[in-house]
Symmetry: C2
Subunit: 190 residues, 2 copies
Amino acid sequence: MDILKTRILAEGVAESDSILKVDSFLNHQVDPELMGQIGDEFAAHFSKEGITKVVTIESSGIAPALMTASSLKVPMVILKKEPSKVLNQNLYQTVVTSYTKGISYELTLAGKFINENDHVLIIDDFLADGEAATGAIRLIRKAHATIGGIGVLIEKSFQPGRKKLEEQGFSVYSLAKIESLADGKIRFAE
Amino acid sequence: MDILKTRILAEGVAESDSILKVDSFLNHQVDPELMGQIGDEFAAHFSKEGITKVVTIESSGIAPALMTASSLKVPMVILKKEPSKVLNQNLYQTVVTSYTKGISYELTLAGKFINENDHVLIIDDFLADGEAATGAIRLIRKAHATIGGIGVLIEKSFQPGRKKLEEQGFSVYSLAKIESLADGKIRFAE
């Protein structure tokens, strides 16, 4: 998606060989118009999948996922990072490790919002090691739903996320593929 | 806003005298169409304020704030709950205590996204004790910006948030005012 790549080149900062900061339009300040265009792009790409819910992970995925859900006219479900204190409910939980951030967190889904009739589109901001997406998939499977696809804004193609997800049979659509962040330079894959 | 009140009555759960759960359309599952209508309502209400940025607090405010920013055609800025490890930057930080959740957290704003030329609209999901909004105001003032108004979806009118904010001279616009959650019943204020 050229409009996203242009913004990444203009405003993104390669903080290290593996960290790309896009704080000015995605992760801290958010450009609603760009998010709308991204939502339309994901909705068009997955339009024939019969998606019933868009699922994202708290919190950087919320803006593009909301716009995708809006364009597809289906609800969005946010997988919550706060472990719920209320455990006498129908809750699915799993632990996700973020190698990028060096932390682990618990991801929670209330069972009433996803069920066996749902065909889910997962939307997230970054795909790196694929740990967050894999955690989301575990929760969606616990809810007996199926997965219609995975859409990410920025894929770090030098990390194993895509391979992990494709080996499980999932369709991954990324709007910008980063080949390298070495020497402070952002290089896209062809 | 009648459409929001209808949803609160139909789907909200008064978990205690002070806790209202609206997980099915706002906090866990999110209705994009309703968020769009809410965004348009806030944008219309504050249309003459010359708003340059919409600010919200991670993460339940993101969906309505994004739609408000989209409608006003201005950027959204998310005040982050993660304390940043990188401190050699122009960062504003403050501690907020949530009495509802019984926790304290650090709220962070990168100085480059708000400056003295900004006139900010704060959007959040709930107004209860006003601690989150007051924390947001502290950060926006540290950035030398001015505040054009505060919009909340659900105000707990039996808690002191509105009074605190109005005493500081701020204009508060809430779409639904809850007078009481006693006995598991949701009662709106007139």
